[in-house]
Structures are given as structure tokens and as C-alpha cells.
């Protein structure tokens, strides 16, 4: 099978070389050194590896890189613009919505996807949408608060 040689990530083209069935997570971390996307379980159960593919949240540990070809991939490294944090990143920072921080990139990517679909989510909607992201340190209430604050920040920014 033909190798995958290019991916579009965070608005740029990146050269890679991988079999199409190689998991996107491994390509991001090991070939491109985009280590903000984390391994947590390898079965799509914890959400630590969440990235956006054409704006949709996807578990990169289960995503064959071949299915991401010619699509727009966004990782945690691509959220801030010119050093200015994305409103969701800023809200997580403001709410101190983390302890060890290992789940944080996946949480933030899920939250970005949520706010794109529902700019003003209720608490119940946040919980339903984020249920697939595990935080073993137990910062869930702060994450919920951060998502609500991010929604507010985005509304203000228009």
C-alpha cells in the first residue's frame, strides 16, 4: 500500500512517511515531535489523544493516518495564535483546571470542538460532551467551569 507522505497540521503541510494504517498519534508524536497530544489508553476511552480533524474531535490513538490525509488536523500546539492563547486555553489557565496536566491537551481539544458546535453549552451539555475525557486527578468541576468561562470569552471576542 502506498505510504502517506503529507499531512496538513495546524495550517501547514508536513512531510511524513508512514503506512496508512499507522495511528495518527504515533505520527504526530514520533515523526513530527508534536508531543502535546498524549497517549493514555490506546482504545479511545480516555481522550488524552484528542485532536480535531476538519473541526471534529477525533481520538488520534485509533485514527489510521491514511484517513487523515488531505484533511485539516489541529493539535494543541496549533491553538494559540502568535503566542496569544486560545480562549479555551486561557480559560483553563484562569480556572486552574488541571493538576498534573496530562489530560489537559485532550480536554482542551474536546472543549474547543464542543464550543464550535454549541457556543453556549449548558452544564449538562458540557458533561455529556466531555464524558469521554478522563482526568485521574479529578479536576472535572474546574474543567466544567473553564468551558463555561471559555464560552463567555469567545462571546465577548465575538
Amino acid at each position: 500500500m502506498a505510504k502517506i507522505r503529507q499531512l496538513r497540521i495546524n495550517g501547514r503541510s508536513h512531510s511524513i512517511e508512514a503506512d496508512p494504517e499507522t495511528r495518527l498519534l504515533e505520527v504526530l508524536r514520533d515523526q513530527l515531535d508534536l508531543t502535546g497530544t498524549k497517549y493514555g489508553c490506546g482504545e479511545g476511552q480516555c481522550g488524552a489523544c484528542t485532536v480535531l480533524i476538519d473541526g471534529q474531535p477525533r481520538r488520534s490513538c485509533l485514527t489510521p493516518v491514511g484517513t487523515a490525509e488531505n484533511k485539516e488536523i489541529t493539535t494543541i500546539e496549533g491553538l494559540a495564535v502568535n503566542g496569544r492563547l486560545h480562549p479555551v486555553q486561557q480559560a483553563f489557565l484562569d480556572a486552574e483546571a488541571f493538576q498534573c496536566g496530562y489530560c489537559t491537551p485532550g480536554m482542551i481539544m474536546s472543549a474547543v470542538a464542543l464550543l464550535r458546535a454549541h457556543p453556549d453549552p449548558s452544564e449538562a451539555e458540557i458533561i455529556r460532551f466531555m464524558e469521554g475525557n478522563i482526568c485521574r486527578c479529578g479536576t472535572y468541576p474546574r474543567v466544567v467551569a473553564a468551558v463555561r468561562r471559555a464560552a463567555e470569552l469567545e462571546r465577548k471576542a465575538g
Binding site: 488541571f98 496530562y102 491537551p105 458540557i126 482526568c135 486527578c137 479529578g138
Partner: protein
């Protein structure tokens, strides 16, 4: 427990500064320090050696440490004004990088932004036993405060000398020394410039008392928080080295299995693959993780397995295989008191093995160069892992460097160097640096668990609610918090160790989770027997003012004693551990038709002396409660004949967003008392409070953790 006792009884260091410096440690340190950090002022805090030997903990080989243990803390003020603090502690989410920064800023009188903590690097930081047991705040923070206060005094002296003024009349603040009389001031960096001044001290300078804190006591945000929201922070599993390979280890099909034969031909024929086979150990390295996984799958191994017990036999096994008790505590006569008691209750409680499941699994990157080994790994015991590596490869500890970057959680689960040793073995054979990241399944199978246990309790009470007899036997799960805080004249308390069928070890608050569950459940049962309110019953038998205060604070915040509807239940539980005082109230709702249990709300009061960082403390308490929900309600390791059956998140349920009830936290701030740690004790009240609330709602007493693994109670 032993080490805590030892430290509690150590003599205070002498109140004197050493002007003649111990030559050996300082020479090493001076060379390294001023080479790495440039000129400036360095403070080395020295501790008498008798104290250090007690700190070193478990039995070790004769010390071949690169750093003498007498040096317990050091800090450096550079010519640019940057302060670097060195500590062997490790950050894993408990936020000590931030709270220790506050402690140093407080005493040194500098902005927190000018302080950098260099943590958990065995080549650069002083020896430290490990980051566990809630010891950082009560023990490390005061040491760093002493070092910082000493540095401040030294800088004041330097300024006094420069101005030919009296040191006592000068004031340090905001990174400078000022002379109120003349109005002049000089910045620390100017005082440090051109210096290579090192001072070793056995100092006990006056520390700023908590009521006067300006930096400590406030909610400083996580010091490097931005690195976590941008993905910039590199955990051990994110470290990359030139020429690095990926490793995988061949795991036995069950515990204790031995490798009979290995056919590695197919794997070795793969390009770029190295196969390592030494005795029972087999592993591979390859240029990518995928290639390593493929090579691993191509190994043909034959194992000899050993029959082992399975989960349904566990509690009988623990009881039957107990060894004679250790550290039995006895006062009065339990037998006499029981026969005189109006109410007598016997009950047996059990707790299952549970997993820490830190979201970052065990990982290590190992590199050999000229016989010297460097390993990056996420561990709570950098120096302990260095010893393990030195022993494993039979090299001196000076030849091993362990570097711990801020880690993706530990919860007591990352004390050992398994992944570090495996990565180093593979790297040695491959002749290249190797990264090894355990899979989630490996993390569940090959790490260690919170111990399972059986606890037998017998209590006796008089008609007026006075508890007169208390007998408590813990089989296997451990002795932490095994004693009762209640004033009971006749007690027999004993821990019975067992050779655990599964590998077990530390956990958040250790065995106190089990001992609190049994004790606080049994106290509730006694309260019901004497027909007293469970809170009144506890207070009647409790003299400790600090514990009474948190019980009362939790009950007040919760609205204890209010009216209840059908299926609604209230429960309360609390206690003392690791210098912290906790009380937790829980409301549950039990659906009368489905029998499903819902934790409706939680209120917890916690007191750990003077609060260092209220927001960080709240974060830890809420985290404890949420983690505690799992062990209380549904977490349990299922195993059969040497295999873990639920070794992934799709089979081992951990708390998620929808499991979290509203949680109210009451912080009791005792500025008059020394600060204790807070990352563990707040987990302890939750499970018994839930069990007591379920009883209150239904009359059904649940004596096994987890209590509601399927989400519903048995039908009546």
C-alpha cells in the same frame, strides 16, 4: 509510618552557623554550582548526619552516593537576580512546585517570578527519600524556608558591609536590601554580582510566622501552568534524544510465569530490530513504536505458568495466610469491657485491590554514554530509582543520573523503577538511547495495586453512647491510620501482614482508606445500635479539638440533621491522618424501584494547619473526593489465576464527569499551627460517609469496597 516516627523524634539542628565549611560536600557543590549557574551567592543547608541517616529510609547498600545526604537543600542567587532552588522532590500534579516557590519567596523576599525550582534530578539536587506520605509541606517547605531566610540574612550582611552600616537596621524586601535611615537600597543581583560565595549552614533562622505571610497563604496560580495548556511541557514520555529507538518488553501470560524458550528468528530478521533475551527478560527495540510492536508480536515464546488464586477466593486467602501481627496496640481489657457493654457489635469489612491508573503510564528514556547511564522517568523516588538502576546494572550510583520532569500523576503508584530498568536494559543492548512507554494494559498488569484487605472490628458501647471497647484487626491492607482517634479506654488494634497474591504497594493515603472505611462504618453501626445521631455519637466519644472542629464545620456546611425524604440518606465520617483533619458529609438518593444509588452532594471540611495556597488546597481536596468516588463505589481489580481481567479503561471504570456530585469544601485555616500536607488525607472520609448514607436511606449496611460496582443495591 516508621519513617514518619523517626523524623518526628529527631533532635532540632543546633542554632549556630558554621563559618568553617565542611570541605568535601562544598567542593563538589561549589564546582558544580558555579560552573552550571555562574557566579552569585549559594546557600547549602546542612543537616547533622544522624538525622540524615534516618531520612534515608529503607536498607540500602553502603552509600555510593554522588551527594552526601547531609546536604538537604540548596539555593542560588545569580548575578541576574534569578533564584534557583534545588530539591529532590518531584512534581506530579500536587502542585508543590508552586507551593515551595511561595515558601522561598516568602522568606527571601523576592517576587515568585524570579524563582525557578530545579526538582528531582539526582545529579543536581540534594538527596531526597521520595515524594510521598504528604511530607513535602511539613518537612521540605521549612527546610527551603530556612535556606531562603539564611540567604536573605547573608545578603543583608553583604549590604551592611558595603555601606558600613548595621545589618540589624537594614530591611530586605522585593528583591533588594534597603536602609530606611538613609533611603538607599541595593538589589540582590547587584549584591550577588562578582561573587562566588557559598555558605553552608546548620541554620535555624527565625521564619516568618503564618499570620505575617504575604506570598504563602495566597492562591498563587500553578507556576508553569501555561506550559500545560499549550502542550509545551515535556513529560518523561515526551523526551526525545538523537538516534533514539523505541522499546517493547515481552510480558508473561500470567504472574510468576517463567520463560522456557524463545524463538527470536522472525523478529531479528526485521530491519532495524534488536532482540534482547536475558533469562526471564525479553524485549525488542526498533526505529518506531509500530515496528517495535510488530517485532514483539513476532517473538515466539513458551512460558511455564504457575497456578494462582482468583478473586473469589481472595478474602479467605488473606485471612488464612496472615502472619503474626506487627505493632499490636493494646490498652485496658477489651474482654472485660465487652462483657460489661450494653451493646456489642462484630463486623467484617473488606476492600478490593484497586489501581492508581495515573493518566501518564510508566515511561522512561534511557541513554548510556561511556558507561554512564542517564534515565528520564516519571517517578516519586528519583534517588530510589537511581539505587535500583545501580543495583540492576552493578554500577556505582555516581554513574547513574535520574531526571524526573513534572509527571503525569502518581498517587503512590510510581515509587518503583520498573520502566527505567527495562528501558536501560534495552538501551544497553541496542547501543542507542531507548524510549519505553508502558501501554495502558501493561500499566494495569505490571504496576502494583492498593492492597486488598479484610478488617474485623468488634465494638462495645454503654447505653448512654460511650464506646468502651474497640478491637480492630487489619489483614494485609496495612497499618496507616489503624488507630482510632476516639477516646476508648479498652483497645486492641493489630495489623496482620500477608504475602499478597497480587503485587501491592502505596496508594493515596495508603491503607488509611481501608482503615477509615472500617472504623467509621463501625462507629456508625454502634451509633445506630444505641439509637444516637451519628454525629452526636462521634462527638460524645471524641476529645481531639481539631477533629471535633472539622466534624462540626462539615456538618454545618452540609446542613446535618435536616429533614429527609424517602430514599434520601445522610452519612458522616472523618478522622486524622498525616497531620490533616478531615470530616465528610454525603447525601445519597436510592431509587425505590431500580435500587440505583446516586451521590447527591458532598461537603468536606479539612484542616491542615496554616494554609499555604487555598486554591491549590481546594483543588487537591476536590480531586481526592472525586478519586475516592471510584474506590468507594465501583473500582475493583478483577483477577483469575495470575491474570488481570479488567486491564483497560473500557473494563476498569474510573470516575468521569457525570459521576461528580456538587462538592462543597470548607477550609479550616489554623495560622497558629504548622502546615501539614494535603494531597492524601481528604480522600479518607468519603467512602465510609457514602456507606453510612446508604444505610441511612435504606437500612442496608454495605461492608465491602467497592460498595455499588453495578450502580444498584441488591433488591430487598
Amino acid at each position: 509510618m516508621k519513617s514518619k516516627l523517626a523524623v518526628d523524634t529527631i533532635p532540632e539542628p543546633e542554632r549556630s552557623e558554621l563559618d568553617s565549611l565542611p570541605s568535601y560536600p562544598l567542593e563538589i557543590a561549589r564546582r558544580d554550582f558555579f560552573r552550571i549557574l555562574g557566579g552569585g551567592v549559594a546557600i547549602f543547608l546542612v543537616r547533622p548526619s544522624d538525622l540524615a541517616s534516618q531520612e534515608s529510609g529503607r536498607g540500602r547498600l553502603p552509600s555510593r552516593d554522588a551527594q552526601p545526604k547531609e546536604l538537604v537543600a540548596w539555593l542560588h542567587i545569580g548575578e541576574s537576580g534569578e533564584v534557583t532552588v534545588f530539591t529532590g522532590k518531584a512534581e506530579m500534579g500536587q502542585n508543590i512546585r508552586t507551593s515551595l516557590t511561595q515558601a522561598v519567596a516568602e522568606e527571601l523576599r523576592v517576587p515568585t517570578a524570579s524563582i525557578r525550582l530545579l526538582m528531582g534530578d539526582t545529579e543536581l539536587t540534594p538527596y531526597d527519600m521520595g515524594t510521598f506520605g504528604s511530607r513535602t509541606t511539613p518537612y521540605m517547605a521549612p527546610l527551603l524556608r530556612r535556606a531562603a531566610a539564611t540567604a536573605r540574612n547573608l545578603l543583608v550582611e553583604l549590604a551592611a558591609r558595603q555601606w558600613n552600616a548595621e545589618a540589624a537596621k537594614l530591611v530586605a524586601g522585593n528583591g533588594k536590601v534597603s536602609d530606611p535611615a538613609s533611603g538607599r537600597s541595593i538589589e540582590y543581583r547587584e549584591l550577588a554580582r562578582g561573587q562566588a560565595l557559598a555558605k553552608a549552614v546548620i541554620a535555624e533562622p527565625a521564619l516568618t510566622p503564618a499570620p505575617e505571610w504575604k506570598v504563602a497563604g495566597g492562591s498563587l496560580p500553578k507556576i508553569n501552568g501555561a506550559d500545560f495548556v499549550t502542550g509545551k511541557h515535556r513529560y518523561s514520555s515526551d523526551i526525545k534524544l538523537d538516534g533514539m529507538l523505541h522499546g517493547k518488553v515481552l510480558r508473561p501470560p500470567s504472574f510468576q510465569a517463567t520463560l522456557v524458550s524463545l524463538n527470536k528468528n522472525e523478529a531479528e530478521a526485521m530491519p532495524g530490530v534488536t532482540v534482547v533475551h536475558e533469562g526471564n527478560f525479553a524485549g525488542v527495540t526498533a526505529g518506531s513504536e509500530r515496528a517495535a510492536a510488530r517485532a514483539l508480536a513476532a517473538l515466539r515464546a513458551e512460558w511455564k505458568t504457575v497456578p494462582q488464586i482468583s478473586q473469589p477466593e481472595l478474602f479467605g486467602f488473606l485471612k488464612k495466610n496472615a502472619r503474626p501481627g506487627e505493632g499490636r496496640h493494646e490498652t485496658g481489657s477489651v474482654e472485660d469491657a465487652l462483657s460489661a457493654a450494653r451493646h456489642r457489635l462484630d463486623a467484617t469489612y473488606t476492600v478490593e485491590y484497586i489501581a492508581h491508573a495515573p493518566l501518564e503510564p510508566r515511561a522512561a528514556v534511557a541513554a548510556w554514554q561511556d558507561g554512564k547511564l542517564t534515565v528520564w522517568t516519571g517517578t516519586q523516588r528519583p534517588f530510589g530509582v537511581r539505587s535500583e538502576l545501580a543495583e540492576a546494572f552493578r554500577i556505582p550510583e555516581e554513574q547513574v543520573r535520574v531526571i524526573v520532569s513534572d509527571t503525569g500523576a502518581g498517587f503512590g503508584g510510581k515509587h518503583t523503577g520498573d520502566a527505567a530498568i527495562e528501558a536501560a536494559r534495552l538501551a544497553k543492548a541496542a547501543g542507542r538511547p531507548v524510549q519505553l512507554v508502558w501501554t495502558r494494559e501493561e500499566e494495569f498488569n505490571w504496576a502494583y495495586f492498593r492492597p486488598a484487605g479484610v478488617i474485623e472490628v468488634r465494638g462495645g458501647a454503654l447505653a448512654d453512647g460511650t464506646v468502651t471497647a474497640w478491637e480492630f484487626h487489619n489483614y494485609n491492607s496495612g497499618a496507616a491510620a489503624i488507630r482510632t482517634p476516639y477516646d476508648i479506654p479498652n483497645q486492641r488494634i493489630e495489623f496482620h501482614p500477608v504475602d499478597s497474591p497480587l503485587r501491592q504497594g502505596s496508594y493515596r493515603a495508603l491503607a488509611a482508606t481501608a482503615n477509615f472505611f472500617a472504623r467509621e462504618s463501625h462507629m456508625d453501626e454502634l451509633a445506630r445500635a444505641v439509637k444516637m445521631d451519628p454525629l452526636d455519637f462521634r462527638l460524645r466519644n471524641l476529645k481531639d479539638e481539631r477533629l471535633r472542629a472539622v466534624f462540626e464545620a462539615a456538618a454545618k456546611a452540609f446542613g446535618w440533621g435536616g429533614k429527609k425524604n424517602e430514599g434520601q440518606g445522610f452519612g458522616i465520617a472523618g478522622g486524622i491522618e498525616k497531620g490533616g483533619y478531615v470530616a465528610t458529609c454525603v447525601e445519597v438518593a436510592v431509587d425505590s424501584s431500580t435500587r440505583s444509588v446516586k451521590v447527591v452532594r458532598v461537603a468536606t471540611a479539612f484542616e491542615c494547619g496554616a494554609i499555604v495556597n487555598p486554591d491549590g488546597l481546594e483543588n487537591q481536596i476536590v480531586g481526592c473526593i472525586i478519586m475516592g468516588l471510584g474506590g468507594a463505589l465501583f473500582e475493583a481489580i478483577e483477577f483469575a489465576n495470575g491474570r488481570i481481567l479488567n486491564n483497560r479503561f473500557s473494563r476498569y471504570r474510573v470516575p468521569r464527569f457525570s459521576d461528580v456530585p456538587p462538592i462543597e469544601v470548607v477550609l479550616v485555616n489554623r495560622k497558629d499551627l504548622p502546615s501539614a500536607g494535603a494531597g492524601e488525607t481528604p480522600i479518607l472520609g468519603l467512602a465510609p460517609a457514602i456507606g453510612n448514607a446508604i444505610f441511612d436511606a435504606t437500612g442496608l449496611r454495605l461492608r465491602s469496597l467497592p460498595m455499588v460496582p453495578q450502580g444498584t443495591l441488591p433488591k430487598v
